[in-house]
């Protein structure tokens, strides 16, 4: 494994529902190397999405540490964490989550509005990202004018436009047909191989997992086949 970009140490996550406590993650210790493409697999409720959310800084662990590029994300304030996410993490969701009133171009431009880039620089970045995902001719299309696969490729362009080191994908092919799913996975693979992006992907699908270099299995919040 290359130099670890994500270091997880004794990480636990408990959800409390009144008096009932559910252990989502139980003292996980795990590393992800820089430039790796990893698939997180496991049945529903195994804690894979929770682990992904904690690594991406949109959830916090109950105990333990999650260091991403040396930063313990759990210790950052909400504002600092938001800024950190903007600079370091690209998200790809199962349901694409594009803003329906914005065009493909504008959806991809959204994370850049928080940067110091001017309009011309933003345009260059967005066009490059959309070209990379093969949608240079769909700049002005609204999400409803695109197919599911195209929407997901716009979401990938949005995830990479700010040039983050880590791309997290939560069931990115869950809502796609087999052909579109293959396109999206190939795209993620290219981002990993050609651009050196670290991609961590949650999936149920073994075919999707086959695109990754490594597969990590979780069950009932515990790591099955991985150990430091």
């Amino acid at each position: 494994m290359t130099e670890p970009i994500v270091q997880i140490r004794e990480l636990s996550k408990l959800y409390s529902h009144g008096e009932i406590e559910v252990i989502a993650l139980d003292r996980i210790t795990l590393d992800f190397g820089a430039g790796e493409f990893v698939a997180l697999m496991g049945p529903s409720g195994s804690g894979k999405s929770t682990l992904l959310h904690i690594m991406a800084g949109i959830d916090r662990p109950t105990t333990g540490q999650c260091l991403v590029q040396g930063t313990d994300v759990a210790t950052l304030s909400e504002t600092a964490l938001a800024e950190w996410r903007n600079q370091n993490v690209g998200f790809v969701f199962q349901t694409f989550n594009l803003v329906p009133v914005l065009t493909a171009f504008e959806n991809v431009e959204l994370p850049l509005l928080l940067t110091a880039l001017n309009a011309r620089e933003r345009r260059e970045h967005v066009e490059t990202a959309l070209e990379l995902v093969g949608l240079a001719d769909r700049l002005k299309h609204l999400p409803r004018q695109l197919s599911g696969g195209q929407e997901q490729r716009v979401a990938i362009a949005r995830a990479i436009v700010a040039d983050p080191t880590l791309i997290v994908a939560d069931e990115p092919t869950g809502n796609l047909d087999a052909h579109s799913a293959a396109d999206v996975l190939t795209l993620l693979q290219r981002l990993n191989r050609e651009m050196g992006k670290t991609v961590i992907m949650v999936t149920h699908d073994p075919r999707a997992a086959s695109y990754a270099q490594r597969t990590v299995h979780l069950e009932k919040g515990e790591l099955l086949n991985e150990a430091l």
Partner: protein, 382 residues
Amino acid sequence: MTIPGFILRNALRNKRRLILTVLSVAISLFLLTILLTALKLMTEPPTTDQASLRIVTRHRVSLANVLPEKYQYRIERMPGVEHVSKFTWLGGIYIDEASSNFAQFACDADRIFRIFPEAVVDPRQEETFVKEKNSCVVGRKLLERFRWKLGDRITFQAGLWPCDVELVIRGVYHSEGLDETLVFFHHDYLDELLGRRGMVGTFWIKVANADVIPDLIARVDAAFHNTDAETKTETERAFQLGFISMMGNVKLFIGSICTVIVFTMLLVTASTMAMAIRERLREISVLKALGFTGMMIFTLILAESCGLALAGGVLGCFGAKILAETLDVYKLSRGFLPMFPVSAEILTVGMLVALGLGVGSSLVPAYTSIRTPVVTGLKELD
């Protein structure tokens, strides 16, 4: 795309709801503007610079009691007094009750336009008016309303006084500040018709300098102290407000309606904003995941809500102003409202209410949305 552009896109995403929300705010603020203007007209009647040089003497008990005519000669001799005129409200009925919502005053024809110099009348018409005992001068709006002409005979049936009064129109006045719906005629003529002399409703006094007013008021009232008809002298402004107060607590009544309107609007707008934000909870969570901070989200929601409310405010408040200036309010109100000026002050109040609506209606939904964890927001609608 810019952040304001993004806010605009969000605001425009559901056009039907946008139009209904803006219209509901606009209609409410239109009503509010109209009511506030009406309230201002009733509680703070328009005044002119000349009004500050006039005082009014009436019976101490009430306006319904009369004063002896002879008081006029004593008042005239007091220092600082320029002109004094008898001024008695006729309260006559012209055609029918509904058409009679304008005032007719018996006065001293040769002095009344010295006391009200802001009422401009042609000197030849005034001269004729002074000479003919049964003549009158009417306001321009009144002349237009009833399509009268100079020389027309008009008859007022007995109202407050037990006599019909037939007058010949000999003049018309116009004025920037004075109500243009009044009728002035000879007090001597009223005395003659009533078959008695010497009883007057009020005396209107014009002074040379406003500085003398406090002393003069005290001097007039002291002069008639311990008589059968003690007086109460006050400034024209105080007299008008006292007259208005006889209508009851209009201020409280209209104020209550305004409060209900604003409160109802707050609920409607808040409900709309809450619904709009609830629908977008997942999108807001995605924005947060992309790096938008809670404060940024809060600002986006606040700006959108304020934008909608202010758009409604502009439509409602300025719509009311344009309508008031375009329509003939005097004719539409059948003479009840001689003028209807929507002031800059009321427009400012209206726009501040709109802004308050925007802020008030978005606070709770904005706070709730930024407090909702990203993961919860993403899961909730997935």
